[in-house]
């Protein structure tokens, strides 16, 4: 028989509702929900509004589940880094098993509901995304290679494709274009952050590019990725998914993104990297907001 005192000493019951919300990484989830919803809105086909809400909810819960499992696996390095030391697991407010169980139940639930309520193509993509984030990025790449967020970034790029599949029942070139925008946006976004957090990543033994190759090489690669984003950001217009106004504004935003990367290359302090990280969030939000407005405004052609 389990002694209640032992259970309490082990920390069971210390995690509150806020802790359970926190391990779902709500800030990451908000971006995932937004890009997934845009993918759903711009895709060809029609989905009943209730099912569209269910699809976005499943994407959100699936992303949260992946975040919870990631926090379970990374609890040792989270304890070392100042930015993550206050999370429920390293702070001791939640037991590892609680986080893992919570994440797995949510992941299975999100995939099943997506399959039963919406369609199984979207469900399979959601399952693939969760598995990619957990096994490929978290377990395999994150602690082994400075290309961790380049390849692992695919997990964050899948949500608009899932939304697209939820609406259309398949995956078209438009979905691949939306995927590519996030895929090529991810490296400069994360490297901007890791430039001014490289000390913490080094202490935790995470081989981020600034830690392994130095800030000079990191800045050069960041600039390269922002240049790749020029044609990639315009691709939805070339593929007929969006109109010319989106294409022009998307190109303008990409030019500004490149300008922030140039500023990072010239700056010897962290200030430009911080500004670039902030702009990168705005960039992705505006690109997807423009796609949504473009569809709402019937093309703006």
């Amino acid at each position: 028989m389990t002694d209640l005192g032992e259970v309490r000493a082990a920390g069971f019951g210390a995690a509150g509702v806020r802790d359970y919300v926190a391990i779902l990484k709500p800030r990451v989830m908000s971006l995932v929900v937004f890009t997934g919803a845009v993918g759903l809105a711009v895709a060809p086909g029609h989905l009943h509004p209730v099912l569209a809400v269910v699809a976005v909810l499943c994407i959100a819960v699936g992303a949260g589940a992946a975040g919870a499992i990631n926090m379970w696996y990374d609890r040792d390095i989270d304890a070392v880094m100042r930015r993550t030391a206050g999370r429920p697991l390293p702070a001791g407010r939640m037991l590892p098993g609680e986080a893992l169980g919570f994440g797995v139940v949510l992941a299975v639930g999100a995939v099943l509901v997506m399959g039963l309520a919406v369609n199984w193509v979207a469900a399979e993509l959601l399952a693939l995304t969760i598995a990619f984030y957990v096994f490929v990025y978290t377990v395999w790449l994150k602690r082994r290679t400075p290309q961790n967020i380049v390849i692992g970034g695919a997990a964050g790029a899948f949500p608009p494709m899932i939304g697209w599949a939820a609406s259309s029942g398949g995956v078209g070139w438009g979905a691949i274009a939306l995927f590519a925008i996030i895929f090529f946006w991810t490296p400069p976004h994360f490297w901007a952050l890791s430039l001014y957090r490289s000390g913490e990543y080094a202490a935790a033994g995470v081989p981020m590019l600034p830690v392994v190759a130095g800030p000079g090489e990191t800045k050069r690669q960041m600039l390269l990725y922002t240049l790749i984003l020029w044609p990639v950001a315009v691709a939805p217009t070339l593929l007929g998914v969006a109109g010319f106004v989106y294409g022009a504004l998307g190109l303008l935003l990409s030019l500004i993104f490149t300008a922030t990367a140039v500023a990072v290359c010239r700056d010897r302090t962290d200030n430009a990297a911080r500004r670039m990280f902030a702009f990168s969030l705005l960039y992705l939000f505006l690109i997807f907001a423009l796609l949504l407005l473009d569809r709402g405004g019937a093309g703006w052609v």
Partner: protein, 42 residues
Amino acid sequence: MTMPADKQRQRTIRARNRALVLVLVVLAALFYVVTIVRMTGG
């Protein structure tokens, strides 16, 4: 006599239980609505 830490823990568990009940009720309502929509060909 109950310790303040125990009271805090009980409050936390109670809040968690309420949140769980809320989630279950929302899920049941969601499944109900989804079933109706699917049955009507949505």
